[in-house]
């Protein structure tokens, strides 16, 4: 492997030798990482949780988009779906299949007795429909609470999700949404 080979002058023979060397190098790396053959491949790097400022910014953008939709009546539709706990994450799925769920809107209890509605706790972005419990806890969300009263609202910027604990919204106000 002492001959000089540039990308613009690769011969078939040189390309074969380069591929072989790369394959061997990859195998060597895998062995070093897993401590021998047959080990579990390393997990892909975890997506860093969004910072508080990022969550705040996303919340503002989300609210503006929803307000924009409501003021132009261009179509907020309820879609069905569910929220499930899987391992240490919350997974949101919407129907029909293939609908992209981009945000989780969390609604808390009313602030006081004469409040006309529930209080928003925040919006967290979803990655492939999932959000980690750690992210939710950082947003002050009780991840052990019930998430069985769910509204999915589909707007032009992608479906958004409102999760309301049973006590904050009458159960009969959201029929057939879970």
């Amino acid at each position: 492997m002492t001959e000089d080979t540039t990308a613009t002058h690769l011969t078939d023979d040189a390309l074969d030798r380069l591929t072989t060397a790369l394959t061997a190098y990859t195998a060597m790396l895998e062995k070093a990482t897993t401590g021998g053959g047959g080990g579990t491949p390393p997990a892909p790097p975890a997506t860093p949780a969004p910072t508080a400022a990022q969550v705040e910014g996303l919340d503002a953008a989300f609210r503006y988009r929803l307000l924009r939709t409501l003021m132009s009546a261009t179509g907020v539709e309820e879609v069905t779906g569910r929220v499930e706990r899987r391992n240490r994450a919350l997974e949101v799925t919407a129907h029909p299949a293939g609908t992209t769920v981009t945000h989780l809107q969390l609604v808390g209890d009313p602030v006081d007795d004469d409040s006309p509605g529930p209080r928003v706790q925040g919006v967290v972005p979803l990655s492939s429909g999932r959000v980690s419990a750690k992210t939710l806890r950082q947003a002050g969300i009780d991840v052990d609470g019930a998430f069985d009263d769910l509204r999915l609202l589909a707007g032009p910027a992608g479906p958004v999700v409102a999760v309301a604990p049973p006590l904050s919204v009458p159960a009969d106000s959201h029929p057939d949404t879970h």
Binding site: G57, A60, A61, R63, Y64, L67, L70, M71, G117
Partner: protein, 409 residues
């Protein structure tokens, strides 16, 4: 408001034009239903105490009792203007109450001259044959509804009844509301037929309740947003973008508008004026029956309005196109500001980093600059030292300056 109703009728021009055929009595009742249903920001948009309309009770204190409201329901049916459901009409979208436009929407649409042009169109159609037009059925329906809803005294006790013996002129009342909220008058005078063009009694007795510095703060906000857009992808060199300063500007605008809304002031007026403006906007939004019958069909609202104005010997505003394009985006943005959506630095930063907001704000900047002639995007160049990216003082809502009757502030 009527643009939202049209959207609920469908997405085609023909479907949306059906709204213009609905009976005036039904539409009047529908407005009552919208008022009763809306007026509170949906919980997922803010806290229950969000200062929408200035007071959470602004709607409740004017709302009809529920039973009385449904005793004579509008029965508006979005499948056809001739249908009557016997129940209240659509007032929600996806279960969330419709949010009507901000007062600035009415101001911008009226700035095109559309109200005065249609006043003259309706007058001529009703008192003579100077327009030499033979109206089709849908146009006759539009004519009657328009006169009934907007050129008669409103039904007694109606939510849109913001005319009385103590404020008898709707034109003057609207100018009064615009003046108080934005410190701006309409660019055209009151036509001589309807009053004196020099009559400015509506400016009297506003006291300190005028947002005289709205325009300066608003323009500065647009300039700062544009700085952010310009420097969004800068990775080196000076970056004058300052989200915290944007926040301060948003807060100043929010506070000055909320000041005018204390105790629910201007809430009913805003609702009535926005409904009026949206009716005429909807009429020229497509080549509707009345536009077609008057042979004023064109490809956009501004050209249709210009053609209608020509038909009655008037001129619409030269920048009508920009004003129409500006009205709804600016209305949405001011609503969001009033709701405190951008009341922290990270939130305000979204004004130029979020794709939807950036697109809306760029539309607003382009159209505002063109409509008003204020150069938002340009800064002085040449041998003079470059100006600071922002003024020395942080923005605060200035106390209003009482206007003297007959003297423009």
């Amino acid at each position: 408001m009527f643009l939202s109703l049209a959207q609920l009728y469908g997405t085609t021009e023909a479907q949306q034009a059906e709204v213009l055929r609905v009976n005036a009595l039904q539409l009047n009742r529908w407005l009552e239903e919208v008022w009763a249903t809306g007026g509170t920001i949906p919980p997922i948009l803010g806290t229950p105490r969000s200062p929408f309309l200035g007071d959470v009770d602004a709607v409740a204190v004017h709302r009809l009792p529920a039973t009385l409201l449904t005793t004579r329901a509008s029965g508006v049916d979005t499948t056809g203007a001739d249908n009557f459901t016997g129940t209240p009409g659509p007032t929600t979208d996806g279960g969330l109450a419709l949010v009507w436009d901000h007062l600035v929407y009415a101001y911008l649409v009226e700035s095109t001259g559309i109200m005065e042009v249609f006043a003259e169109v309706v007058r001529r159609l009703l008192i003579g044959e100077t327009l030499s037009a033979t109206l089709t059925g849908p146009s006759v329906e539009w004519l009657r509804t328009t006169e009934d809803l907007f050129f008669k005294d409103p039904p007694i006790f109606a939510i849109t009844g913001v005319v009385s013996q103590v404020r008898p002129q709707a034109r003057a009342n609207r100018r009064n509301a615009y003046w108080r909220m934005f410190g701006m008058d309409l660019p055209h005078p009151v036509p001589g037929r309807w009053g004196s063009s020099t009559e400015t009694a509506w400016k009297a007795d506003t006291g300190a309740g005028v947002n005289t510095d709205f325009r300066a703060k608003w323009t500065e906000l647009l300039r700062q947003v544009w700085l952010g857009v310009e420097n969004l992808s800068n990775s080196s060199g000076a970056k004058p973008t300052d989200p915290e300063y944007l926040r301060l500007l948003c807060e100043a605008l929010r506070d000055m508008m909320n000041n005018r809304r204390r105790g629910g002031q201007l809430a009913r007026e805003e609702f009535a004026y926005v409904a009026t403006a949206s009716w005429f906007h909807l009429t020229v939004a497509s080549s509707s029956p009345i536009v077609t019958d008057l042979q004023c069909a064109a490809t956009n609202p501004a050209d249709r309005l210009a053609a209608l104005a020509n038909r009655v010997g008037m001129q619409s505003a030269a920048r009508s196109r920009e004003l129409f394009d500006l009205a709804r985006p600016m209305s949405r943005f001011l609503r969001a500001i009033e709701l405190g959506v951008f009341d922290t630095g990270p939130r305000a930063e979204q004004l130029f980093t979020d794709a939807t907001l950036r697109s809306d704000l760029t539309t607003i900047i382009d159209n505002w600059q063109s409509a008003t002639g204020e150069r938002v995007k340009e800064r002085p160049t040449g041998s003079v030292p470059p100006p600071s990216a922002q003024p020395l003082r942080v923005p605060t809502p200035a106390p209003g300056v009482p206007a003297t009757n007959g003297v423009k502030a």
